[in-house]
Subunit: 343 residues, 2 copies
DNA sequence: GTGAAAGCGCTAACAA
DNA sequence: TTGTTAGCGCTTTCAC
């Protein structure tokens, strides 16, 4: 580090300036109620005057905490549009600020090893906790961290381990899809198709259950209206064509498991000379990606409340770090529907 | 922090296990060439066996460095599609790993104050350096940081202060637009329009100069082919309509300052019953956003080499932190053109 | 309510 | 080549 204009103030500097001991300055910061009001005032003025901020490394060493939350950033899949991470990261950093925490990003040397990177940060006490985001496929990180009693909060339910007791926050995808179905039924649609992910995707099946159940609740059939495949535009395109090629009753609306898939559906609709929208073929996506906002004529989509997710994640993180044992350290948040031109 | 299964190893633990002094263990880590091979071997085995990783806080306190690089994350503008930050952040975190650094995210309490947040991290020695990304509008951060001799690297040129000597990395937008113009001219277009940002945007004018100069170099006129406005879909839409409504010679292709604007142009083209693509009206965007990859029929776009930007940023960061004074601590990288259906 | 002493885990400087 | 000493800046503990 280079020379500063003014040497950085320390406890000792401030103590000397205020005519008290170092300890008193420390107390003024961490336990102000211990000081006599006039002493406190004097110390605070010295702090202010010298522009003193406690040295993090020293404080961390002493308190054995870093006030840092680790988050592993994996490469974004090209050709996929959700754009969730951007929004989530900002919200998380923002919420952390309120808790006196910061987000430390790290990446894996071996991307295919879901555990890579965690251990070293832990052993070096570089972070106090982790936020785990990619919990979709079996998430071994959660089990690994829980076993070692490492504080962490997951964004995403432990689908495959319902007994897991670690804190997590998730968005109710099923409820989001129900919003979409209700919206379409209210607009007069009856043949509403589902364009989803493979059966192996628990998230995909959860979202699909919202379609199945709400369709039945509204007295509608789901027969021959369901497709499953991967998260690509091409799959969405082919699925829409296949559904529209069926003999007999064809869908008048598509509820899609993701915006990416929905973009493929829109493509198929255009290729058939049909028009996406309430008058012809309605389409609803999932994630409210930037693309949904700009595609023609605007893709109606289920929006995850990531700002609120971040708030809840940090709340659970604080509980965990303070060793407060919460009854049910979980939160399931309900998404909302952003209605645009395609419905 | 909760109890671990095994208490975390320290220098003392390892030293005892290896039968050497603490200092020797420290040297084994930081200056292994000082040790006799057999001692080194013995110490390394002890380190391995105990799973020892140096405590960051202690090391930071002693070395007066944190190995952390601060990056301020501002809210993403909704309705805009670039999605650059996602890609850049991952690349930066990745490059940092190679240099033994980590990225610390922070946010401003007052978003409108471009300096907010930097000072506190600095005074508390929480970070060794900053990466500054939003250098487009006059970037007072760069001046502020440079004045205080704080190590930082900017992603973005100091447009308004050509004398600034701080390290920076930028992408040659002008060259990127030239690629686009060449591509379109090679495909037979002659009336190629520019849909850009306001004159007050230096980045916008730089990109525009690529259009102007390359058009002239190729013997083509730019007369009545230029539009300027804000970074919104709606502006792009209106600009395209206006250009196509002109009497006489209308454009056959549009080079856009951003993918967001390009999406508006595509919208206008559709509204007029025309078709985007090489056979009718060609469109090229800028940023290769996820939206460009999924919109119909695929938006040709100028892609910034963010992975390489991150590598260069970290390289300059390392030079700066090591107090190596480089001649010209700058790098201008050339983007590439991703050709898709709209051209 | 305030101050003195101790020590967190590490590395720079120096001694052996 | 290895070990000893000291101290980074802070907070915890305990006297006063």
């Amino acid at each position: 580090m280079p020379a500063r204009h003014r040497p950085v103030a320390t406890l000792a500097t401030v103590a000397a300036a205020a005519g008290v001991s170092r300890q008193t300055v420390s107390n003024a910061l961490n336990s102000p109620e211990l000081l006599r009001p006039d002493t406190l005032e004097r110390v605070q003025q010295a702090i202010e005057r010298l522009g003193y901020t406690p040295n993090r490394a020293a404080r961390n060493l002493r308190t054995r905490s870093s006030q840092l939350v680790g988050l592993r950033l994996d490469p974004t899949t090209e050709g996929t549009v959700s754009g969730l991470m951007d929004r989530f990261l900002h919200s998380l950093a923002e919420s952390c600020r309120g808790a006196g925490l910061h987000v430390l990003l790290f990446t894996a040397e071996d991307v295919n090893d879901p555990l890579d990177g965690y251990d070293e940060l832990l052993r070096s006490a570089s972070v106090d906790a982790f936020v785990v985001t990619d919990t979709y496929r079996g998430n071994p990180q959660a089990a690994w961290l829980a076993e070692r009693q490492v504080p962490f909060v997951a964004f995403g339910r432990p689908w495959t381990e319902p007994d897991a007791t670690h804190p997590w926050v998730d968005v109710d995808g099923r409820a989001g899809v129900m919003l979409a179905v209700d919206h379409l039924v209210d607009r007069g649609h009856q043949r509403i198709a589902w364009v989803g992910w493979q059966k192996s995707s628990t998230i995909g099946e959860d979202r699909r259950s919202g379609w199945v159940d709400r369709m039945h609740e509204r007295g509608l059939s789901t027969s021959r209206l369901s497709a499953r495949g991967e998260d690509t535009i091409e799959y969405g395109r082919r699925a829409a064509h296949a559904l529209l090629d069926q003999d007999g009753e064809q869908p008048t609306a598509f509820v899609c498991v993701s915006d990416t898939v929905a973009m493929g559906v829109l493509q198929a609709i255009a290729e058939r000379g049909r028009r996406p929208g309430p008058d012809d073929l309605a389409v609803v996506g999932f994630d409210d990606s930037p693309a949904a906002q700009v595609v023609l004529p605007g893709l109606t989509s289920v929006r995850q409340p990531l700002e609120e997710v971040a708030v809840q994640v940090v709340r659970l993180l604080e509980d965990r770090l303070a060793m407060r044992n919460i009854e049910h350290p979980h939160a399931i948040l309900t998404p909302e529907l952003r209605v645009r031109g395609t419905s």
